[in-house]
């Protein structure tokens, strides 16, 4: 009975006291920033970005104080509930807002506010010359506020408010430079795909209401175990649809690559570190539902396994540095989904990897931004090479992220990803072999494509022309200003050490135990040292292969045609062609046909009726000049008729 949901249902989650009672500040501070900057208009141009950054840090400080207060309480008394207001009292549906400050949500709060604030700082430099800088920071603040609401909400409906809030911020920021039509399309695509997920989420919330009479976590989770496995399976699958869209998981992954249209800090914060991991949060938060629905849980694991390979394969063929990183994000979230789909053995590791990934991937995205900053916003890695000497800080910080994602000990990714691979090997029958095998092979491919990216950018021969030689096409690579490099350095420290620190004595998994539940000691089908050794061997092999192709050998400036597999991967395994053929084209034809028939068919029937009466009225018109008079007359006749009829009857 150590699951928080059960405790909450029995009213045992204490009301917040002390600093925790002010947890709404976490959301309200950045929200106030967004409001001020958007309503304040040009008057806030000069200092708006500083205010937004300060408010984001303020939110982090509040989060830190809440954490300290939480640490001070006993293991089982850490979760606290903060009341809000009477949100929706509508007949049978009654909902109050409230925040659930527990071990899971506070971990997210710190990730979001810390990485988020660093990226605010980075953006001060990155967006210094953008005429719409104020709006950019307003949207960033809006994002932080919404994301915090998402993870702190105590009900599925309030979570959904945050869920859509981050979607809106993502839409606005992907389309931030929407004077470029392709970027505007990318923003729409992200929103549309996410709306498909929202259908799943919305129906899930309706089903919760119909089943439990309420949509707050406490009630739903408390009833999940007894509600019948069919309902719970449906519920789990619906939630999974929502999670797939938000976290760019197969088959709703197609928007993430295009989302790289947004300014790079956005890609780092929203499309790598935080928002795209919301699906993983949703699954872990709803673990009571998935625990009661083994089939839905299996679906989560399958989706994760497919996506981790899908993203890794796509990542191998991308020459655009940001799109390669995006594919990698997809793949890494696939690992988290897989872990979440493994059940109690995986929940904590899913979140652990989510946190370390938040640091090293954000760091690498910021590094990519720094490279672009020094390379006239170019993104094609075939035009990079040998940049390590020109951007030392970027190179080192990126390098730490690279080592972390490869899972090289003792860097962060090793501690979290290796645990997921081990957990994937736990179980009976075919599952451990399939899931474990995929996770392990994925690690090898990851090592290949991330090394490819790292070597193509920073090592090998330079494949760009210096500005002195060619002012037009030439570039002048240089290190970025301190506002950009300092956040990169901080994140690099996290990439290096965070995994080690958090896994010290199982600290982080132990911390999450009251939320996700403890699980007994289970052993993988292979011995742990064997798994570890095999994984490292694959990683070394992948990296070595990349070294041969992209460091030792010459890299072609123009991409070679490549094998069929390469071509498919470069085209994102034809995801867009499939979506277009299945949905867009038939949809366009359908709307066109309906527009045509609405004017002809439906209106024709109604119209001929109208013509009949119209013909009569047009005769009246000659007498009375004007339809209104004829109408008034008709009405008068009508009234007289009524009264006459009533009189006769009486």
């Amino acid at each position: 009975m150590n699951s928080l949901a059960l405790l909450a249902a029995e009213g045992e989650v204490a009301s917040a006291t002390g600093i925790t009672a002010y947890a709404w500040l976490l959301v309200l501070l950045p929200l106030a920033g967004a409001g001020l900057l958007l309503l304040g208009g040009k008057a806030t141009n000069a200092w708006g970005h500083l205010l937004a950054t300060a408010l984001s840090w303020a939110s982090f400080v509040v989060g830190l104080l809440v954490l300290l207060a939480m640490v001070g309480r006993g293991h089982e008394e850490r979760a606290a509930h903060v009341g809000g207001w009477n949100f929706i009292p509508a007949g049978q549906f009654q909902l109050e807002t409230g925040l659930l400050v527990d071990q899971l949500s506070i971990a997210f709060v710190l990730l979001i506010t810390f990485v988020g604030s660093l990226i605010h700082v980075y953006s001060i430099g990155y967006m210094a010359h953008d005429p719409n800088r104020r709006k950019f920071f307003a949207y960033l603040n809006l994002f932080v506020a919404s994301m915090l609401l998402l993870v702190l909400a105590d009900s599925y409906l309030l979570l959904f408010v945050g869920w859509e809030g981050v979607g809106l911020a993502s839409y606005l920021l992907i389309g931030f430079w929407n004077h470029n039509p392709a970027y505007a399309t990318a923003a729409n695509k992200a929103f549309f795909v996410n709306r498909v997920g929202d259908v799943g989420m919305s129906i899930a919330i309706m089903l919760m209401f119909a089943t439990f009479g309420s949509v707050d976590f406490a009630t739903v989770h408390a009833g999940a175990a007894e509600a019948g496995s069919t309902t719970m399976t449906v519920l789990g699958l619906l939630l999974l649809v929502g999670a797939c869209a938000k976290s760019a998981q197969f088959p709703l992954q197609s928007w993430l690559g295009d989302a790289m249209a947004g300014p790079t800090p956005v890609s780092a914060l929203i499309h790598a570190a935080t928002m795209v991991t919301a699906g993983v949060y949703l699954v872990v938060r709803s673990h009571s539902i998935f625990d009661a629905a083994p089939n839905a849980q299996l679906a989560v694991a399958i989706v994760g396994a497919i996506t981790l390979l899908y993203g890794a394969i796509v990542g191998c063929a991308k020459d655009d540095i940001k799109k390669a990183l995006a594919a990698s994000t997809m793949s890494q979230i696939g690992y988290m989904m897989l872990a979440a789909g493994l059940g109690p053995v995986g929940y904590a590791f899913a979140i652990f990897h989510l946190i370390t990934h938040g640091f090293f991937k954000a760091g690498m995205f910021l590094g990519a931004g720094s490279v672009m900053h020094g390379m006239k916003d170019r993104v094609d890695m075939r035009g990079f090479g040998g940049l390590s000497g020109f951007m030392k800080i970027t190179w080192v910080t990126f390098g730490l992220g690279w080592l972390a994602i490869l899972g090289v000990p003792p860097f962060s990714g090793f501690w979290s990803k290796d645990k997921i691979i081990e957990a994937a090997f736990i179980g009976e029958g075919w599952r451990p072999w399939v899931f474990g095998g995929i996770a392990m092979i994925g690690a090898g491919i990851t090592a290949f494509y991330m090394s490819r990216l790292f070597f193509m950018t920073f090592h090998g021969k330079k494949r760009w022309v210096d500005e002195h030689e060619d002012a037009e096409r030439g570039v002048h690579p240089h290190e970025s200003p301190l506002t950009m490099t300092v956040p990169m350095m901080v994140l690099a420290v996290g990439s290096g050490l965070l995994g080690l620190v958090l896994s010290w004595g199982g600290m982080f998994t132990h911390w999450l135990e009251p939320v996700v539940g403890a699980h007994g000691e289970e052993h993988p089908v292979l011995a742990v040292p064997v798994i570890m050794a095999l994984t490292l061997l694959l990683v070394a092999g992948g990296a070595a292969y990349a070294w041969m192709l992209y460091w030792r050998d010459e890299v072609a400036v123009v991409a070679p045609r490549g094998s069929l597999v390469t071509q498919a991967a470069r085209a994102d395994l034809y995801q867009d062609a499939i979506n277009e053929g299945l949905f867009m084209r038939p949809g366009t034809h359908l709307t066109r046909a309906l527009v045509f028939t609405d004017g002809k068919g439906v209106d024709g029937v109604a119209g001929s009726l109208a013509a009949m009466i119209g013909g009569a009225s047009s005769r009246l018109r000659r007498v009375q000049t004007g339809y209104a008079r004829s109408y008034a007359l008709t009405m008068l006749t009508g009234v007289v008729a009524v009264l006459g009829a009533l009189w006769v009857m009486n």
């Binding site: 249902a9 958007l38 207001w85 009477n86 949100f87 929706i88 009292p89 509508a90 007949g91 049978q92 549906f93 409906l157 408010v161 859509e164 809106l168 929407n178 004077h179 470029n180 039509p181 505007a184 399309t185 729409n188 929103f191 549309f192 709306r195 929202d198 259908v199 919305s202 129906i203 919330i205 309706m206 209401f209 119909a210 089943t211 439990f212 009479g213 009833g223 007894e226 309902t231 709307t591 309906l594 527009v595 609405d598 439906v602 029937v605 109604a606 119209g607 009466i613 339809y627 209104a628 109408y631 008709t634 009405m635 009508g638 009234v639 008729a641 009524v642 009264l643 009533l646 009486n650």
Partner: protein, 517 residues
């Protein structure tokens, strides 16, 4: 005898209209301020009515009542009174009218038909005030016959507003509007007459409370009566397949007229379904529910698809409303307290979100002189505030959580899901389509490279007057998005009373309080 607040709310705009209409030729420039002032006085009265309305459980259903014998031989009374749903719609109409008057402030500048006497301007603003009187009347009526009179009378100012002041195809649109309404009105008229004979009769036989639960007659008769009212309301609402008058009327009307037409007048249809169809003919309503829910779902999807295919921005907005009315009707006929409250709230929220879309699109059209979406592009770089406010109104229309429409749409769907899982699930597809019609439009009109204009023709961003129009609308999105309680408190008792009349109770949660199955 208490102060006849509702009557005064109807008299004030009528007097204002008369004053505006009778202004001497030299002082016609006073028409607009007088009209605005009159509508603001009406708004104050409406807020006063809200303040005096008792939402307590012990309070009576119809409040602020006034009853005078009118034609006692036929059971007709001049009877007024509101429940929470009627009151919330009156308050919405009273807020939207001054907003629309302000939006229409310069509508007749550079008017081709203007003869310099200012007569057209006076007519225009006077007609809007007359319309306000009838809008209050139709919701405040407590007598079926009085309701019918207002229901028909409303059409006259709208007819003139479209026919005299509309776009190039205004005659066609106005006639189509009046003909559809006429058909509905006549069908309803027959039902009204028949209703009297199947009611309790007597000197006050047309009073709502006299009829509620007291309509007699065979099952077949009740069904016929139900149909008489339902068809009239379905045309008014409008529902598929009798919706085709709306896109023409809304796109030919001035934006302010379109707002009052779609945002307020059409609500009489859904309001009538709730009050008359469910209230007077409970058995027939249950009988018709499968068909009505089906038509509602079709309206949701069909309206949205047509909106996606629309090339004219005003027609597009009209089609979005057909989709939204589908949701409202679905919620009414789902007959659960949640869906019912959702529908009532939806009627208010839709009024504001559609006002936002029509008026802001109107500001855009006023700058460029075209309603064709393809004639725009990149306007975010030219008029950023206009673009931003349109986006917010659009997001409200697509029911983004945090904005008002979401709460009502969710309640409708959740309440419907309790009884008709598939209808709600299919209706939910509407949220994907809504994103398409709003964001594709935003993309086509506002994003892309900055358009070039001749030096002098560079459009300006929203001015102060236009910002004052938009501000209350956006405020309502946020306020009712995060705190819909004031409106829900109003409508909840009325919804539960209606469900009581129908004789249905909410389905219990299938797994209430964790009981094992």
């Amino acid at each position: 005898m208490s102060f006849p607040l509702l009557t005064v709310m109807m008299v004030v705009p009528l007097v204002g209209a008369a004053v505006v209409w009778l202004l001497p030729a030299g002082s016609s420039r006073l028409a607009r301020p007088i009209a605005l002032a009159t509508s603001l006085v009406t708004l104050v009265l409406a807020l006063l009515a809200w303040a005096r309305f008792d939402t307590g459980s012990s309070a009576g259903r119809y409040q602020l009542t006034e009853t005078h014998s009118w034609i006692p031989q036929f059971g007709v009374s001049y009877a007024l009174g509101v429940d929470g749903i009627a009151l919330s719609l009156i308050v919405m109409a009273a807020i939207l009218t001054p907003v629309c008057l302000l939006a229409a402030w310069n509508d007749l500048e550079g008017d081709r038909d203007d003869d310099g006497s200012g007569r057209r301007e006076k007519t225009y603003f006077a007609l809007m005030l007359v319309l306000l009187t009838f809008m209050v009347g139709v919701f405040a009526a407590r007598d079926v016959f009085l309701f019918y009179v207002f229901f028909e009378a409303m059409l006259i100012p709208v007819y003139f507003l479209i026919g005299l002041f509309g776009g190039p195809r205004r005659q066609y649109a106005a006639v189509k509007f009046i003909l559809f309404s006429l058909v509905g009105g006549l069908i309803m008229l027959v039902a009204v007459i028949a209703l009297y004979f199947h009611g309790p009769g007597g000197e006050q036989g047309f009073l709502y409370e006299a009829l509620e639960g007291n309509v007699t007659g065979s099952t077949a008769t009740q069904r016929w009566l139900f149909l008489g009212f339902f068809i009239a309301f379905a045309i008014k609402a409008p529902m598929w397949p009798v919706h085709t008058w709306l896109p023409d009327a809304a796109s030919e009307a001035r934006p302010a007229t379109a707002v009052l037409l779609v945002g307020v007048l059409d609500k009489v249809g859904t309001f009538g379904m709730l009050r008359f169809c469910l209230g007077f003919f409970p058995e027939a309503s249950k009988w018709a529910t499968p068909v009505v829910i089906t038509l509602a779902v079709i309206s949701v999807i069909y309206g949205a698809l047509l909106a996606i295919g629309s090339r004219d921005i005003m027609r597009l907005i009209a089609f979005t409303s057909i989709s939204h009315f589908g949701f409202i009707v679905m919620g009414i006929f789902a007959m659960t307290s949640t869906a019912g409250a959702g529908s009532a709230l939806y009627m208010v929220n839709h009024g504001f979100s559609t006002a936002g879309l029509f008026l802001i699109a109107g500001f855009l059209v006023a700058r460029h002189g075209s309603q064709r979406i393809a004639d725009y592009g990149g306007w975010q770089r030219v008029t950023p505030v206009l673009a931003g406010t349109f986006l917010v109104a659009g997001l409200s229309s697509l029911a983004l959580p945090g904005l008002s429409s979401y709460v009502s749409e969710f309640l409708v769907l959740a309440g419907t899901f309790q009884r008709y899982e598939w209808a709600a699930a299919i209706g939910t597809i509407g949220i994907v389509l809504a994103a398409l019609y709003i964001l594709l439009t935003y993309q086509r009109v506002f994003t892309g490279p900055r358009p070039t204009f001749a030096e002098a023709a560079e459009p300006r961003d929203l001015g102060l007057r236009e910002k004052l129009v938009v501000a209350p609308i956006i405020a309502s999105f946020l306020l009712l998005g995060f705190f819909p309680k004031p409106v829900l408190d109003l409508v909840n008792p009325a919804v539960s009373k209606t469900l009581e009349l129908v004789g249905v109770t909410d389905p219990a949660p299938t797994n209430a309080s964790g009981s094992a199955q």
